[in-house]
Amino acid sequence: MESNLVLSVVTFIYGLSALSYITGTVFNKSKIANFGFFLLIAGLTGNFAGFILRWIESYQLGIGRIPLSDMYESLVFFALSGAFMYALVSKRFNRPAVGSVVVTIIFLAMAYAGISPSADSAIKPLMPALRSNWLTVHVITCFIGYSGFAISFAASLIILFTGDTDKGRDLDELNYKMIIYGFLFLSLGIITGAVWADSAWGRYWSWDPKETWSLITWFVYAIVLHARYMKTFKRKTIAWLSIIGFIAVLFTYFGVNQLLSGLHSYA
């Protein structure tokens, strides 16, 4: 399939972009980091093309569905939304160090999609319970949320590395901004999932491990949002909490499928 080829090339471009960002950061050369941004936009364009192509291919196979329903497709979409979101904010928060982390995560997601045996790239027909418009809204909102959290994770890492200086104030703002975007979209994702579960399984909430872990993630970020109002919590503590939040995201996404069973075991 052509889309797979396109997406492999995209993985490579993202890898180069991450490398440029890292080189630019380490040697403090903004030109190289800017080249990383250029590559990121190239990768983003290819990523989008690959996504659309896969959508078209599914119609040619007589299946006809938006590519958002298995591990492979969700990783590709995660990369797409993450790259898009970072491209949007990187003008205002021009920190190549953050870019290094974010684009590395995006590259790893794409590489994992391409290599891992649990992320099969064949286009398969949907099982009956997944045939719903809620699927599209649910997956898109969740992954926009995850992208926000990925960027906040990157910002938090850099905050912890560079120390609690005054210069870090914009990182703090980026961290908070991405958490509120992530939190709003995660809430939307959980809620659309609940409404969908209500119509597909008859219960809006059944404490399925994936559901529960998304709620745990939600609680962690709720702690971050409330901790900001308490003076006892310093910027570094918030950064740590945001990192814990992202670990919860990763567990919700990968760990639940590998270690626990439940309604989401197919994706």
């Binding site: 009956p128 509120i180 809430s187 939307l188 745990i216 609680f219 702690i223 409330h226 901790a227 639940v256």
Partner: protein, 464 residues
């Protein structure tokens, strides 16, 4: 101790309790505990696995696990208690802070005094050759364009005003919290008054009892449910199921009959109870005809017609066979045998399981008895499996969802923005001095931008 002292003590403990329930520390503590309990819950293996795990453990551990209902944390009383505590905490926090916020929200802003505007960091000045009237007109144009509401005061050579919007958005946090309260209330109501179970109806048959998920007990519905037909829709040219559906008739007395199709992702509702197409299966219809063969000669020695649950005795007089069930798709160590009858052979007080796959008539020889069984003839029919759910809290939960989301949106992305303007007579006649500043309850950067925007607006206006 006199009454005065008692009142004092009561007041004191009351205050301490109130402070405890209205503290943000409690919120964070509860978030942490609920999240940790949820983490633990996802790793619990379920009731049977948990009982296995507890085997041989000390008595007190077993009792503790039982009291805390560790096999089912999410439905345990203490988990509900934590969530109720969170609710109480939110209510107390709101009562603690809401009155002062309401005061601000209700207040009508005053035009700024000279010292107020001087105290703001982002203030700006601009000496314009507009007249005072032109200046006021121009500023009002700007406020109108940006939908700011103006509160003004005017003297002969001094004009001042406060223009603002979004004062009410200070309530965003409370809207979010109200949504969350509705959500957990709805959840608790659903948990206490509702039920979830399953009903299996073969084609052309009628059922009226639900098997509950919680305790496997039967619940009578007060009406009947009939399955007219069941159908599996496949993807074109493949054998992969795309969807499945059943035509259902609900009947509650003569007048009250309702017929509709239930399919995956399209539930039906009758009498406040929801019916969801959750699965299907195939059952034996009528009796199955089996034949018994001698293992050495392959000769047929007997023939039986059996229902599920029936027991027959073999010609040797001491071996018995109990037909247990029919499985449309039976797997034995990952090997799919297809349609299979399962039963138990009883010989000399020994129980030996027997699998009789329809497409593999010699399979029962593996059991190594004196005889083996073969399936000859049988009929099956589909039954539809509907999940049945009653939950009266769901509307509260859904309104909670909407209110929570709007609250988040308001408190994250909207703010209370104020713009302060003072116009003075300038040094020359017909000249006006603009002094202006802006503030926001959340977004300092936006307030700075606002000052710049206003500056650009009046300078451009002057040129045109």
């Amino acid at each position: 101790m006199n009454i005065k002292n008692i009142i004092e003590i009561v007041e004191k403990t009351g205050n301490t309790l109130w402070d405890f329930f209205a503290s943000l520390k409690l919120t964070i503590f509860l978030f942490t505990v609920i999240a940790s309990a949820s983490v633990a819950g996802t790793f619990m293996p379920g009731k049977i696995g948990f009982m296995k795990f507890l085997q041989g453990k000390p008595e007190w551990i077993i009792r503790l696990a039982d009291v805390l209902e560790l096999h089912d944390i999410y439905n345990s009383p203490w988990f509900a208690f934590l969530i109720i505590m969170l609710g109480v905490n939110i209510v107390c926090c709101s009562f603690e802070r809401l009155p002062s916020v309401m005061k601000i929200v209700r207040k009508k802003p005053l035009p700024p005094s000279g010292s107020k505007i001087e105290s703001l960091k982002n203030k700006n000045r601009y000496a314009s050759d507009m007249s005072m009237e032109e200046g006021i007109y121009s500023a009002k144009e700007y406020f109108k364009k940006n939908r700011l509401k103006v509160y003004e005061s005017k003297q002969s050579d001094l004009y001042s005003c406060t223009a603002e919007k979004g004062r009410w958005t200070r309530l965003g946090v409370y809207i979010t919290h109200f949504g969350f309260l509705l959500l957990i209330t709805g959840g608790l109501i659903g948990n206490l008054t509702g039920f979830t179970g399953v009903i299996e109806i073969p084609e052309n048959e009628t059922e009226s009892t639900v098997t509950l998920f919680d305790n496997q007990q039967k619940l009578d519905l007060n009406f009947t449910v009939t399955c007219n037909y069941f159908e599996i829709v496949k993807y074109d040219r493949t054998n992969t199921p795309k969807s499945y559906e059943s035509e259902i008739i609900f009947n509650k007395g003569l007048e009250d009959e309702y017929k509709d199709i239930v399919r995956v992702n399209k539930p039906l509702r009758f009498n406040n109870i929801k019916f969801i197409q959750s699965g299907y299966g195939r059952r034996l219809e009528g009796k199955v005809s089996l034949s018994l063969h001698d293992i050495k000669t392959d000769e047929k020695v007997a023939e039986y017609k059996m229902n599920e649950g029936d027991t027959v005795t073999f010609p040797d007089g001491k071996t018995k066979f109990n037909l247990f069930t029919f499985r449309p798709n039976f797997n034995i160590s990952r090997h799919n045998l297809g349609e299979t009858f399962l039963g138990i052979v009883l010989k000399n007080k020994k129980q030996i399981p027997a699998a009789l796959p329809v497409n593999n008539p010699g399979f029962d020889k593996h059991r190594r008895g004196d005889f083996y069984l073969k399936v000859n003839d049988f009929n099956t029919k589909y039954y539809t499996s509907l999940q049945v759910n009653k939950d009266q809290g769901v509307y509260l939960v859904y309104s909670g969802f909407l209110i929570l989301l709007s609250g988040c949106f308001i408190s994250f992305f909207m703010n209370h923005k104020s713009f302060y303007l003072v116009l003075k007579k300038g040094e020359k006649d017909d000249n006006t001095e603009f002094i202006f500043a802006s503030s926001s309850n959340k977004n300092k950067k936006a307030a700075e931008d606002e000052v710049q925007k206003f500056y650009n607006f009046i300078t451009v206006n002057k040129e045109s």
